[in-house]
Amino acid sequence: MENKTLSLDEQFQKRIDNGENIEAKDWMPEKYRKTHIRQISQHAHSEVVGMLPEGNWISRAPSLRRKVALLAKVQDEAGHGLYLYSAAETLGITRDQLMEQLNSGRAKYSSIFNYPTVSWADMGAVGWLVDGAAIINQVMLTKTSYGPYARAMVRICKEESFHQRQGYEIMLSLCNGTEAQKAMAQDALNRWWWPSMMMFGPRDEDSPNTEQSMKWKIKKKTNDELRQQFVDQTVPQAEILGLTIPDKDLKWNDERGHYDFGILDWEEFWNVVKGNGLMNEKRLKDRNAAWDEGAWVREAAYTYASKQAEKRAKKTA
């Protein structure tokens, strides 16, 4: 009897609480739809912008084997972008609109890609740390309430964990190599450590959306919990490599059963989010150039397809 008096919002929440997936054609609160468009498209944009810092090293990869692996990795990122844009499109927005939001700077993407990749070791560090941090977020998303997003994440996670191992293996080769190679690896860790820690977002007390996101199962753990998980999992990996994590406050805390770590530079975090990182402008410029210079290609493909359809129609008429 009680069920009858539940509002649409309450029924919706009940479905989520029962662990049901929400599908594209199901009723959903407008805020749920908008939040998902924002989050899925930010994720898609991150994959696509993320192709640029790694694409930067394809032409200079040090061996054929590494070049092939890097090409395959960047190709995977493009594929992830595709699934995610498709997932976002199920919520009633087009790819062109999404690209426009990215290119105009209105949509965000992961700030990590506004840092430069300046050495080959960065291909190792990005795979190991950046993909490592991304997986922690993404594994959680395989169980998120929105079906198309959750299913895309299952596939993405498989490939990401392969990328992370590949990145770690690049680091391992460098650390087993010459002094110059070890120095290159340490330098990359020094530059990527803190930005990777920032990938989990602001501290919990500065993250107002967390509560709603947890209710909708977009999130199952808070930013700070995920960050802790990343530190705990990464410190032993750095030890195997023989590299030093650039944090003088990093130490094991027996009582907590976790590593303690230093305070993140939140001023830098917000600066990069607001567009003032070293590469923000260049990344957007490159995306805009690709889109604008490709306009005639997309238009031609569309026109050709229409002409072909007309021809087929005439034949069958």
């Binding site: 061996s63 080959w120 080769s173 087993n176 190679q181 290609v297």
Partner: protein
């Protein structure tokens, strides 16, 4: 002596795929849409996969410390045997597609002959590669038609690219001494005999794309024998950078 010739012939085969793969690799993340980025990266991957097969075989012949990487990355510019066509820059998507198409049609004809080679290694590589290259031909031919017969703008851009790049096409069939040796000894095809098939296939697709070959063309020859264009040095600056800056290291 025979092994030396075979080594040189492997370089001919590998260098074209390698330099074209390198050019395609530069584009990653900068294409007109995600689907074309994925496809062109995939073609680059296929080409580098083939290069690794050719150069692993070459390294075995050379012996000593030679590896696929020393062969790929530690030669001087004049020792690379790729044609002018593949070193042409990614001026715009039309040039990328036409360059790909002109190469793919040749590549498919070549591999279909290499399947019948007297050299077993080449047969094995060709059998594996031909499946990939059939797809490359399909991809580039489709795009030639789409853009040639798309809008006025795309048609014009494609015709410009055809006019610019056609002059580099016949070098593919201009056999060097080593390629002549390969043809005579049954290791590789008689390139001259492939030429009419090439021209007719190219014309067929261009016709459907409402494009035409330029009426008078002064063809360019020389890259195969080591006289490259100004592009090549810059390609190698990137391609060889790590091996030159950090010599004798494992990656």
């Amino acid at each position: 002596m025979l092994q030396e010739k075979l080594y040189e012939y492997l370089l001919h085969l590998g260098d074209n795929s390698m330099i074209l793969g390198q050019r395609l690799g530069e584009l990653c993340g900068h294409g007109p849409e995600l689907e074309t980025d994925i496809a062109l990266t995939n073609i680059s991957l296929d080409l580098f996969g083939q290069v690794r097969n050719y150069f692993q075989a070459a390294a075995q012949i050379k012996g000593g410390d030679a590896t696929e990487d020393t062969i790929a990355m530690l030669r001087y510019e004049h020792e690379y045997k790729n044609v002018y066509l593949v070193e042409q820059p990614n001026d715009d998507f039309a040039h990328v597609i036409v360059r790909q198409f002109f190469f793919d049609v040749y590549h498919q004809l070549l591999l279909n002959e290499l399947i019948k080679s007297k050299n077993e290694t080449l047969v094995a590589i060709a059998k594996k590669s031909i499946k990939e290259v059939d797809y490359h031909v399909d991809f580039s031919s489709t795009w030639v038609k789409r853009l040639g017969d798309g809008t006025e703008v795309s048609h014009e851009k494609m015709q410009t690219a055809v006019n610019t790049l056609w002059r580099y096409s016949m070098e593919l069939f201009n056999a060097t001494e080593v390629e002549q040796w390969a043809a005579e000894s049954g290791v590789g095809p008689d390139l001259d005999a492939l030429k009419p098939f090439y021209i007719s296939r190219v014309e067929e697709v261009l016709h459907e794309a409402t494009l035409t070959l330029p009426e008078e063309t002064v063809f360019q020859y020389g890259a195969k024998t080591g006289r490259h264009s100004e592009n090549m040095g810059y390609i190698l600056v990137d391609f060889q950078y790590m091996q030159r800056a950090y010599p004798n290291m494992k990656w």
